[in-house]
């Protein structure tokens, strides 16, 4: 495939060349718009928060002060947080993939029995829910409150994601493919396993990305159901470091209150960087799978 591409590249017309350049310029423009605030966060995380808030820091940091980062990483809870979040994410995402991919495939088949009812079964849950109160009692009666598994199991399926998988299979799985497999005597499980899965790399990669990122960034379920500090995921730990100046907790001196606020304001940017850098780095790995595409023509 690649060699064929190279040979033909000299056939690219002039119009296409301009198009190409235009695209690069456009993308670079977008990238700059996106980058500036990100750059700002980086410099703000090492600058003096007073200067930042007084509008004195825009392009360069005014000092390089890592005390915010020091504070973040000195908190022993951070490392437990990282460990827990990694565990929740890896195990949880595995569960997600197992539940979502076969289901999405099955939904894409027109010969699925009761297809319409099943679709509605799922769609309704996207709109109607009982709210937090009954959900809390369900979790409680399952004995999951303040347990390790409460951040893995109840988030096992996203109907939205499942529909994405369905859409993917609907546009990328041709009839001929299935027929060919069936003529070879494969049943549906076999077809799925040997024929469909190998060509599912892009969608599986995307699902891993979506679910993993969703879990990595989530904090609500942990906030509601987790009480033991050794089970806290990263986001909760970071949130606790940030939450300051609650009047009910009271500080003693004015300067102290100010110091806390100040550190919080410097930390809030650092916290984002600390928590998202690992996961952003995953993206390039995932992106490799997009390149693989799939071999439609393999059976021809």
């Amino acid at each position: 495939m690649v060699n064929v591409k190279r040979k033909k590249s000299n056939m690219e017309s002039r119009g296409d060349k301009y198009f190409h350049i235009g695209v690069i310029i456009l993308m670079t423009l977008f990238a700059l718009i996106v980058l500036y605030p990100l750059w700002f966060m980086v410099i703000a995380s090492v600058s003096n928060p007073d200067s930042v808030l007084n509008g004195e820091v825009w392009l360069w940091p005014d000092t390089i002060d890592f005390s915010g980062y020091v504070k973040i990483f000195n908190d022993p809870a951070i490392w437990t947080g990282y460990k827990n979040t990694i565990l929740y994410t890896v195990i949880g995402t595995t569960l997600n993939i197992i539940l979502t991919i076969p289901a999405g495939y099955a939904l894409s088949r027109p010969n699925l029995p009761y297809r319409k009812y099943i679709m509605w079964f799922f769609i309704i849950t996207m709109f109607f829910g009982g709210g937090l109160i009954p959900f809390y009692f369900l979790i409680s009666s399952l004995g999951l409150i303040d347990s390790f598994w409460v951040l893995i199991i109840p988030q096992g399926l996203s109907v939205w994601n499942m529909f994405m998988v369905k859409a993917y299979y609907e546009s990328n799985v041709s009839l001929e493919l299935i027929e060919a497999a069936q003529m070879d005597g494969a049943n549906q499980f076999r077809t799925f396993w040997s024929v469909i899965l190998p060509i599912s790399k892009p969608i599986i990669a995307v699902m891993i990305l979506f679910y993993a990122v969703g879990r990595w960034n989530s904090y609500f379920d942990a906030m509601v159901f987790i009480r033991s500090e050794n089970l806290y995921p990263l986001q909760i730990v970071l949130r606790n470091i940030l939450i300051v100046n609650d009047n009910a907790s009271g500080g003693i001196t004015g300067e102290d209150i100010y110091e806390r606020l100040r550190l919080a304001n410097q930390i809030k940017y650092g916290v984002i960087i600390v928590s998202s850098l690992p996961i952003i780095m995953i993206y390039p790995l995932v992106q490799r799978f997009f390149k693989e595409g799939f071999l439609v023509g393999s059976f021809k």
Partner: protein, 573 residues
């Protein structure tokens, strides 16, 4: 269809399971068997255990690890199993924790029970009435006898007391605002003939106001403030004069500072440093609830004629750039940062105190001012509704065995020496072991590497305490910052409180009153907020627009809401 039925069955089953009570364990011992003893220690000869659930600050130790509780266990022989969770988790799940009867603890601390919670839960029998156990709580009983006002506040409409209060009376909360001005700038402008009123030059001098050189932590001495306008000593600035000063600051900003100068700032609607005192100069006994007690009548200030006048006046100041627009949007930290940075920016501001706002090296440039003198010559302030007696701090659930023991245990919190430790930290960590010359507890110096704040939050659970006005002379020394502020308030604020104006006490409401207040209050307050901020931004409100506004508020049942407050207040008096 079949699927639906099975789902519903499962659902009901699950609800049933969730609602099931767990059977209690073996037979309970009586008080005598446990060697219960109300007065003196230990409270029981045989160890007894209770579970208490409580939110805690993120910086605090687990309550099971706190020294103060370890000591209490040794003294009383009552073991408390603390179940801590974060404050945010607690807020979100409190209702459900209480409903989860299988895992219900014996009591709840930092419970934050609103009047409504108390009425609903007492009606359902979830919490017990504490007034029936007064004989088991000698300290609490003594407090109720000595302070009928506290008793009134915490008694529910059905005559019982269901939750323990927290009392910390410093005399500070009622006045969360003080006006501070950069006196150096004012003096500079005056010396350089940059001030003129109605075409005539004006001289202003502000002297004094900061601490005397001989002031110590134990003995605070403030220099008296002398304000002279055109060489005459005055008691404060009139609006006209103040406007001149602000304008001059703005026009000559480059002479005064290299940064973006802000003549006057505060936080509109903020808990502290808000606009109430500015409005008060027009005769509005204002606070951020727009609700106060005037001549024993509950009054809603946002419909007063003077409120309109004040709004129109200040809209002018905003338009002229004398009050910055950020007052309507800035968060606390945004506000506080403005007093720091590379060069001073603030000409004047309202806040709780100046130490939080202004950088240490510029502190002495700023001094407190008495309230501004309004167009009718009135120099007055209102009162905020911040309460020093807070309710609903501790409740006991009906499942608790031998609640007498638990209540005697918590009653110890009301012993002033223990209150002091609950609030600030144990003796030995927060306080010196030895009392000072006056027989009072005195705070220990902070160990290095820690702020006072961190020390307190880590070691002090706070919560149920009784630190009434007398305690500062009988039990412990009030912290320096608080004493300093009291001095300032005594000079600059308290003498000016409007006559016949009081704060709305922490009255107890009936369920129907609460429903009324809540149902109408949300929309009413939203409308008032939207309208007022809009007018301030758009240069003021016309008479016709004002009338429309008042009529609309009446349509929104404003009167019913105020009525509800009034009835509750009358019941209290």
């Amino acid at each position: 269809m079949k699927k639906w039925f099975s789902f519903i069955t499962v659902a009901l089953l699950a609800t049933g399971l969730a609602a099931c009570n767990s059977t209690p364990s073996g037979p309970t011992k009586t008080l005598d068997e446990l060697g219960y003893n109300v007065n003196g220690l230990p409270i029981v000869t045989e160890e007894v255990e209770y579970t208490i659930i409580s939110p805690k600050n993120a910086l605090a130790l687990d309550y099971n690890d706190m020294d103060i509780f370890k000591t209490m266990f040794e003294d009383t022989n009552v073991k408390i199993n603390w179940n801590n969770l974060s404050e945010e988790t607690f807020q979100t799940t409190k209702q459900m924790i209480i409903q989860d009867t299988r895992n219900l603890p014996d009591a709840m601390y930092h419970a934050g029970f609103s009047d409504r919670d108390i009425i609903q839960y007492s009606a359902a029998g979830t919490i017990i009435a504490l007034d029936e156990y007064l004989d088991n709580m000698p300290n609490f009983k003594r407090i109720l006898d000595a302070r009928p006002d506290i008793k009134k506040v915490i008694t529910a409409p059905d005559g019982h007391i269901y939750a323990l209060p927290r009392v910390e009376e410093m005399g500070l909360l009622q006045h969360p605002n003080i006006l501070f001005i950069n006196k150096e700038w004012v003096n500079y402008l005056s010396d350089n003939s940059l001030l003129s009123l109605n075409g005539q030059p004006m001289t202003v001098s502000i002297e004094g106001g900061n601490l005397e050189a001989t002031s110590t932590e134990a003995d605070i001495q403030l220099k008296p403030l002398t304000i002279k306008v055109n060489n005459q000593v005055v008691n404060g600035f009139t609006f006209e004069q103040y406007e001149v000063i602000l304008k001059a600051m703005k026009d000559n900003a480059s002479l005064l500072t290299s940064a973006n100068l802000i003549p006057l700032t505060f936080r509109f609607g903020g808990w502290q440093g808000n606009q109430s005192d500015l409005y008060a100069a027009f005769g509005v006994p204002e606070n951020i609830d727009h609700l106060t007690v005037l001549n024993n009548e509950v009054t809603f200030t946002a419909v007063m004629e003077q409120y309109k006048q004040a709004t129109n006046f200040f809209a002018g100041w905003i338009e002229d750039g004398l009050i910055e627009k950020d007052v309507l949007t800035q968060g606390e930290f945004d506000f506080l940062a403005k007093g720091k940075g590379t060069a001073p920016r603030l000409g004047s501001f309202y806040w709780w105190e100046k130490e939080t706002v202004i950088k240490p090296e510029w502190q002495d440039q700023y001094v407190a001012l008495p309230p501004l003198i309004g167009p009718n010559g009135q120099q007055a302030v209102g009162v905020s509704n911040n309460q020093e007696i807070s309710k609903g701090n501790f409740v006991v659930f009906s499942k608790a065995q031998n609640p007498e023991i638990l209540l005697t245990w918590i009653d110890r919190f009301y012993d002033p020496t223990i209150s002091a430790q609950i609030n600030y930290g144990p003796i030995g960590i927060a306080y010196e072991e030895e009392l000072n010359a006056d027989g009072l507890l005195v705070q220990k110096p902070i160990p290095s590497g820690m702020t006072a704040d961190e020390l307190r939050l880590k070691n002090a659970p706070m919560g149920v305490i009784y630190l009434s006005y007398e305690q500062w002379a009988e039990t412990l020394v009030m912290e320096y910052r608080a004493r300093l502020r009291l001095e300032l308030l005594d000079v600059y604020i308290k003498p000016y409180v409007m006559e016949n104006v009081q704060q709305l006490p922490n009255v107890s409401f009936t369920l129907s009153e609460m429903n009324t207040i809540n149902r109408y209050g949300t929309d009413i307050y939203s409308y008032v907020y939207q309208s007022t901020t809009g007018w301030l931004l758009e240069g003021g409100v016309s008479d016709s627009a004002w009338n429309t506004y008042v009529n609309k508020l009446n349509q929104m049942k404003l009167n019913d809401m105020v009525e509800a407050y009034q009835t509750a207040y009358d019941r209290y008096e």
